[in-house]
């Protein structure tokens, strides 16, 4: 009972991007995933990639409103990592029979399908922002991601006043939206 509560607290912490919670999950599960990957033709770097991607899937699941984990975090993490690693092996044509293991697995197709969709969206946004160029990129990041105020931004980027910064940010935002939605529509019609 205590463990269940503990896991729930951990996931709530993860959803809130609480560093302690993330650290705890990381520490408890990384070695397991690392041995899975390394025992199946992978390197330590592969293990790190796979585990962190798994953490993102877990985070997304924790964030989603319909969040309900009906197995241990460990099992969930293992199942996700295993699928992700098998998929990567297949892409590299190095498929091996990973999965003959003692660990229990749960079906994770839905999570991974959602994750792939979000991955694609993430890449679209990343591409769009990288296409912007400076100073637009930093300006947008400062306002929308770091949530800085227009006054701070004006001071940081050397605009005479917040109004100027706002003008500049508007132009950048319009460009970013244009790039992003072009890709987004293409991506959706393609996919």
């Amino acid at each position: 009972m205590t463990q269940e509560n503990n896991e729930k607290t951990l996931l709530e912490g993860l959803a809130a991007s609480d560093r302690k919670a993330i650290e705890s999950i990381y520490r408890d599960n990384f070695n397991m995933v690392q041995s899975l990957v390394i025992n199946n033709n992978g390197s330590a770097d592969d293990a790190k990639d796979i585990f962190q991607e798994t953490m993102i899937v877990l985070y997304e699941k924790a964030r989603s409103g319909s969040f309900e984990l009906n197995c241990q975090i460990k099992t969930f993490v293992y199942s996700i990592s295993r699928r992700l690693w098998l998929k990567r092996l297949q892409q590299q044509n190095r498929f091996s029979t990973a999965g003959d293991s003692m660990e229990p697995v749960v079906p994770v197709e839905d999570e991974l399908a959602g994750h792939e969709q979000r991955n694609a969206e993430f890449e679209m946004m990343e591409n769009a922002i990288n296409h912007l160029g400076e100073p637009c990129k930093s300006l947008i990041e400062a306002f929308y991601l770091q949530k800085q105020s227009m006054q701070e931004i004006a001071a940081r980027f050397g605009y005479t006043n917040a109004e100027n910064a706002k003008n500049q940010k508007y132009k950048c935002l319009m460009r970013l939206k244009k790039i992003f939605f072009t890709n987004y529509k293409n991506g959706n019609s393609d996919g």
């Binding site: 991007s17 560093r19 993330i22 650290e23 990384f30 070695n31 993102i56 969206e121 991601l145």
Partner: protein, 369 residues
Amino acid sequence: MDDIKILDTVERYIRGEMRPDERLHFENLRKTNAEIDQLVVEHTLFLQQLNHFGERKELSSTLNELHTDLTEQGKIDSMKLKGKAKVVYLWKRYKRVAAIAASIAGITTITVTMLVNYLSPKAESAKVRELVNQVNNLDARTKQLDTKIDKVDKKSTKPVINTPARYNGTGFLIDGKGYLVTNSHVVKNSKNVYIQNNKGEQFRVKVVQLDLAKDVAILKIEDADFKPISYIPYGIRKAKTDIAEPIYTLGFPRNDEIVYGEGYLSAPTGFNGDTLSCQIAVAANPGNSGGPVFNHNGEVIGILSTKEVQAEGAVFAIQSKYIYQAIEELKKDTSYQKIKINSSSSVRGMDRVQQVNKIQDYVFMVKGD
């Protein structure tokens, strides 16, 4: 400027920063103005995506920081593979490479071995069969009986040679006083050597010169029944013979009857470039060994000796100049100094049938036991 204000308002609306009355006013505006409504929907989606992007980026950097921290604190053992784990890891990672490398090494080894085997000269005995006929005992006995019957029929007083022949080949006279040439491999294993001519007469001979390296043997007839011959119709050629020159052979591959064969000189050297011999194209079988090879002038150009087992029609003959060498060697012994060899043929210019007719009496079957 207007657009900036509108967007600002939309963003404040999405973020829920509006006062209640302002919010009510804006929601009314949304209902009446489709353009504003569209903008709100689109911008909500966009901001969601942007937020999502921001969160993921932040999470990724947090995870990376954590990874470094935890590794430093030793709470996870990333990249700290030691001892057996390291070996297992390296093995797992590189076993494919190792397997491929091993396969390549294996294939290379096999290929090289095969190439070396293929290219390196073989022991001649493996590829070349000496054309001495190892008559089996049954054949020999039959032959012996035949001879006995012959002798009885002719009421000959000549004692029957009743040792079974184990080897037989061919030899030919080079000096009317009773000197013959054959291959040394025909006689080297025999204690007693006999010759038999086309008419079935047998004479006892002695091996007086045996050169195993050149495969030339000189025999001398030591039999009271043999009457010296004053003149031999063919000569032994000293010079080399040209490629494509027609040649013919006489020999005893059939154990009883002389057999004629013809062909041409196909190469100036023998097996694998052997300079002692030359290659001829002619039908040859066990029993032909030691037989003379004549050119169209009826000159002996060689002694038929071996044939290549793996190739059809490649027969080798010892070049005739080595007969002269053998004789020179023999002449060092004072008792053989009277040997004289013809170098010109009296059958020159005759047609082939006449040549063979004249020559065949001087070609003998050589038998050893």
